[in-house]
Amino acid sequence: MLITRRVEFSASHVCRKEGASEAENRALYGPAANPNGHGHNYVLEVTLDGTPDPITGMVFDLKELKDVLNREIIEPMDHRFLNYEVKPFDRLVPTVENVAVEIWRRLAPQFNGVTQLKNVRLYETEDLYVDYSGETL
């Protein structure tokens, strides 16, 4: 059975490829390349796959899930400038793709029992999101 929890965080970022010219960056990222950055209200949907415990009836303790998401994602990323304050975005472009992969990397080891991390869906805006399930990139 799958369970999904949704959380939000607001962060700023700038998308610029290292070594690329102003024109190349503009062609690649559009206004997201504006040098001083901009922000989004990111919406994160974390999906776990497991079997309800016969005694508790729960796939995963939702309070614990909330604590994990707060500790691993919200606290480090909420109201931060990703490029300057959240590793590895000091050396990796914080596109929605890369942020989703980093969220997966941080969360996957937290669910190493019967219940496993199944999917990370990260909305950068209402009109743009990515799904990542840990597949080889």
Partner: protein, 139 residues
């Protein structure tokens, strides 16, 4: 990894099959068969997959995706009458099932020119006719 981008267009249509008589059309399509048609604000989600480019951090060039969907779908359907203005719907009832099929056909046809061998694949389209009617087509 898949990336999904949302687009919108507003169009009118009338559901009326030439293979059915007037009474049958009324029965099958109800108010969607009213003679002068009606419209919707369609919401189209296009899902693509691709390889993560280590240098850009992207799996798809969003500008190219916007151009393909803009040129072949949004700019053609926006503020149009699907039955009258879109050739495919002169021989096919513009139910949202068929609109999904036509969008899939157009994007599949335009894909090689736009994305060539970049590895960007068209995976799924999801079209919302109203907040209560949603159609998905895996490609």
């Amino acid at each position: 990894m898949t990336l999904t981008r949302r687009y919108r267009f507003s169009s009118s249509h009338r559901l009326h099959s030439p293979q059915l008589n007037d009474e049958e059309n009324q029965q099958v399509y109800g108010k969607c068969n009213n003679p002068y048609g009606h419209g919707h604000d369609y919401v189209l989600d296009v899902s693509v997959s691709g390889k993560l480019d280590a240098a850009t951090g992207r799996i798809v060039d969003l500008d190219t995706l916007d151009q393909v969907v803009g040129n072949h779908i949004v700019n053609c359907f926006e503020h149009r009458n699907l039955n009258a203005d879109i050739p495919a719907f002169q021989s096919m009832v513009p139910t949202t099932e068929n609109v999904a099929v036509e969008i899939g056909r157009r994007l599949t046809e335009a894909w090689p020119d736009a994305f060539g061998n970049t590895g960007t694949l068209l995976k799924k389209i999801r079209i919302r006719e109203t907040p209560r009617n949603i159609f998905e087509l895996t490609l």
